[in-house]
């Protein structure tokens, strides 16, 4: 079957490529505008691997950023935020806050705060889930980091030690000690994944035992830091535990599987189902069909062969190097692997230095360039197609994990792409 599939109905159709934060939010917003949406993804998106916070801009030139909104103007012209703008990022953050609701997201503030990581570093971010809020670093705060013997990837002594020796940016320190509890998630299991543990804490009988164990090691006046395993399907499990323990608790995000990221992902997937986003998971996008400068379809590889999905617009949100949408081959050639789009550098030789612990690798700024409407640009800076938009990790110009800007870029670019696609239509 070649050529786009004709389709019934008059609503415009957008194909969204990718099921990460940018893809999911674009798809949901487009459905709210009454568009037909087909979301195609090779597998589940990376959102559930994330720490479950909203980063907008945490670091710039090696220093901590206090007010991320004010710092946009200091960014170089090549940064995606210069095309996206503060207003769209703010709107994107608000959209996500609305989708996740107050159980999963604390109110959006104006300033970054620092929260402990799983190695006891302090990490800046703008918005956290309510379950992490009590972890914000404050001078003199008394904290006990409580590990669980059966959750092997969280080392309370390491976390507490590093936190205790860190001077806070405004001066002062946290007072931190550590403790651990011995409580299996399931009978006969001595090594539980964080998700298995979180599922156990969705159950009332496990919670009771957990509360007793934690109370036994906490001292009055302490804030209790726990690995992020406080329920996964029940968004209020942590609040119930906190209330029964009788002291403030906070979660610390772990390496994948990250339960806070999974909660976000589950919540957004539930929205896509409710909004009737047609999701093709386990299908691989392999190319475009175009008539001149207009994309008319997306070619997809599924079991049994190729299908073409006819469409009026494409939002390309496949992620970057981490997902394989950008790749470097053995000849150091950099490419965008799905549509073969032009990238900001094609030779990685000078972009990877050998100092593993040194400065950020310039390679990770490579990506696809877009205009103010998020339309993909060719080598001469002109829109390649009138209706091909890019969003999220595929965009060039930012090293997201370094500057802590991943969610802001994903949300802002998704909003801008949807704005462009629905320009002239009434807002829902």
């Amino acid at each position: 079957m070649n050529g786009p599939v004709p389709r019934r109905g008059t609503a415009p159709r957008t194909v969204v490529v990718g099921a990460g934060l940018a893809g999911l939010v674009s798809a949901i917003l487009l459905r709210r505008h009454g568009h037909q949406v087909v979301l195609v993804a090779k597998g589940l998106g990376g959102l559930q691997l994330s720490q479950g916070t909203i980063d907008v801009l945490g670091r710039l030139d090696g220093r901590l950023v206090d007010d991320p909104w004010a710092a946009f103007d200091e960014l170089p012209d090549s940064h995606p935020y210069r095309r996206i703008g503060v207003e769209a990022v703010r709107r994107g953050v608000d959209v996500l806050a609305g989708l996740l609701g107050p159980d999963l997201l604390a109110p959006v503030g104006e300033r970054n705060q620092l929260y402990p990581t799983a190695v006891g570093a302090l990490r800046p971010t703008l918005v956290v889930p309510p379950s992490m809020a009590a972890g914000a670093a404050r001078d003199g705060r008394r904290i006990v980091i409580v590990g669980i013997d059966q959750v092997k990837d969280f080392h309370p002594e390491l976390v507490a030690g590093n936190l205790a020796r860190t001077e806070l940016p405004g001066g002062g320190r946290l007072q931190v000690r550590h403790a651990s509890i011995d409580l299996g998630a399931r009978p006969g299991e001595v090594d539980s994944s964080p998700v298995v543990y979180a599922r156990a804490l969705d159950q009332a009988h496990t919670r009771e035992k957990f509360v007793r164990a934690v109370k036994a090691v906490a001292e009055p006046g302490e804030v209790i830091g726990l690995p992020a395993v406080l329920g996964v399907d029940d968004p209020l499990a942590w609040a119930d535990l906190q209330q029964r323990i009788g002291q403030p608790v906070f979660e610390i995000a772990l390496q994948p599987p990250s339960v806070p990221g999974m909660r976000f992902n589950q919540a957004l997937l539930a929205h896509t189902r409710r909004e009737r986003v047609r999701t093709m998971l386990g299908a691989e996008v392999i190319g475009l069909v175009n008539e001149g400068s207009t994309v008319t379809g997306v070619r997809v590889q599924t079991a049994g062969g190729e299908r073409t999905i006819g469409c009026d617009h494409v939002v390309h949100a496949p992620g970057g190097f981490e997902s394989g949408a950008l790749a470097v081959d053995s000849h150091n050639r950099v490419s965008e692997t799905i549509f073969g789009l032009p990238v900001t550098a094609t030779d990685a030789t000078e972009l990877i230095h050998g100092d593993y612990w040194g400065a950020p690798q310039p390679l990770f700024e490579v990506g696809v360039r877009v205009d103010d409407q998020m339309r993909v640009l060719d080598d001469r800076g002109r829109a390649m197609y009138a209706n091909l938009y890019a969003a999220g990790g595929i965009l060039a110009g930012a090293i997201r994990w370094r500057e802590k800007s991943g969610e802001g870029i994903a949300l802002g670019s998704a909003v801008k792409a949807v704005d462009a696609i629905t320009a002239g239509e009434d807002r829902p």
Partner: protein, 418 residues
């Protein structure tokens, strides 16, 4: 070692392991690992354990993999985790043969056509026997088929007998298409097959139903690769016998997956006959949605005020086509579909029939059963036969293929509780 297992051994060595970035997404979505610590999860027994195997079997926990394929389905890096594990399982079975009676059991439950042929002539007796608790307990003790496991209901008339008996269908106005009914659709789920044929004929197609056997899927998932290979290629010959360019349609969701990709990826069948059939076959809802969206055929549905629970089976999810059945059912005015949101109903082909896996399969299916009961106590929908039996048994709610709802909405039948 047979050629078939050589493929499994070789493929183990050079499979897609290197693409695994250990992100653990598969671990979080595995329905079996969710309910039992006996199975450590697809990444552990797959990409992780694979490095230690060197063609030998080391970890028996692999046996608890149900083969549902959700791990491959959700993997964002394209690692064929389930395929890898099913192949490793077949090698393990050859290296460490199961006890005689369990081996016999696996042979019997993977031969649906034989069961159908044996049971149809004595349907009332067979159904009564399957309903006798004591007899089922004895069977469980001796051969290891769980006494509580869902069993098909034998029919007194096969699909072929119906095709011979029925009046000539209306003259076709569109091109001929081939119908693949699968073993269950020939002997047990005869109603699904009949109604699919009637809907297709109603839309103007000439439906060709060549004499056909089993696709070999159940043999494959029980590690009987050589038998499976023979079965699938015989089936391809049968389906090709009536026309080499025609679209093939099937309401057997999992058997469709066998022809589209599983026989190729898991058994390593590269035969052009399979690749040809795999490219031409469409699951019924997939076919109809493509057709209706093309605008060529616009069906007249009557209004049906109903909320319909729908569970898409793991092996249909694995085909990467989205959920055409959901979109299709909601084209009927008044119909609202509630989707299970669950990876698997637990049965995973023949997994949930086995005495040692039965409790796990029930625990996996529980959220599906609960959702069905809570949504509509009279009627549920699901695209594959064994999953329907499992859901019906677990929820007590009548469960039909989505085509039956369309059949009803087109005014071709009146016997659904709607």
């Amino acid at each position: 070692m047979t050629d078939d297992l050589n493929h499994a051994r070789d493929e183990l060595m050079r499979a897609s392991l290197d693409h695994c970035v250990k992100c653990t997404i598969c671990e979080t979505q595995c329905p079996v690992a969710r309910v039992t610590p006996l199975f450590p999860g697809p990444k552990f027994v797959g990409p992780q354990a694979e490095r230690f195997r060197h063609g030998e079997s080391v970890d028996e926990s692999l046996d608890y993999c149900s083969g549902c394929g959700i791990c491959t389905h959700v993997c964002p890096q394209g690692v064929k985790i389930a395929e890898l594990n099913i192949m490793a399982k077949a090698v393990m079975k050859a290296d460490q043969p199961p006890p005689v009676m369990k081996g016999l059991r696996d042979q019997v439950i993977s031969r649906t056509t034989v069961m159908g042929k044996a049971m149809t002539p004595v349907a009332p007796v067979a159904n009564a026997a399957l309903g006798i608790g004591l007899l089922r307990k004895a069977v469980e003790k001796v051969v290891g088929v769980a006494s509580g496991a869902p069993m098909p209901t034998a029919r007194t008339e096969t699909l072929r007998a119906w095709l011979r008996r029925r009046p000539a269908p209306p003259a076709a106005t569109r091109e001929p298409i081939v119908f693949f009914h699968g073993c269950a659709g020939g002997y047990f789920e005869v109603e699904t097959s009949k109604r699919t044929i009637e809907v297709l004929e109603h839309l103007g197609f000439q439906v060709l139903v060549p004499k056909q056997g089993c696709c070999g899927l159940a043999q494959q998932s029980n590690g009987l690769f050589e038998n499976a290979r023979t079965s699938v290629l015989d089936l391809c010959d049968a389906l090709r016998s009536v026309g080499k360019e025609l679209t093939i349609v099937s309401s057997s969701g999992s058997c469709t997956g066998m022809l589209k990709h599983e026989a190729h990826h898991i058994l390593g069948v590269d035969d052009p006959r399979l690749l040809d059939v795999g490219a031409r076959i469409r699951e019924t809802s997939e076919f109809l949605l493509e057709l209706f969206e093309s605008g060529e055929v616009l069906p007249e549905f009557r209004r049906v005020e109903a909320t319909i629970p729908y569970h898409q089976p793991c092996q249909v999810k694995a085909q990467g086509m989205g959920m055409p059945a959901l979109t299709l059912m909601e084209m009927v005015p008044g119909v609202r579909v509630v989707e299970s949101g669950q990876p698997c109903c637990g049965i995973a082909g023949t997994y949930g029939l086995k005495e040692e896996k039965y409790d796990i399969a029930q625990a996996v299916g529980k959220p599906v059963f609960e959702m069905v009961k809570a949504t509509n106590p009279d009627l549920a929908t699901c695209d594959t036969e064994t999953c329907r039996w499992q859901i019906e048994k677990g929820s007590g709610v009548r469960t039909v293929h989505p085509i039956e709802l369309l059949h009803f909405a087109l005014g071709l039948s009146d016997d659904l509780p709607l």
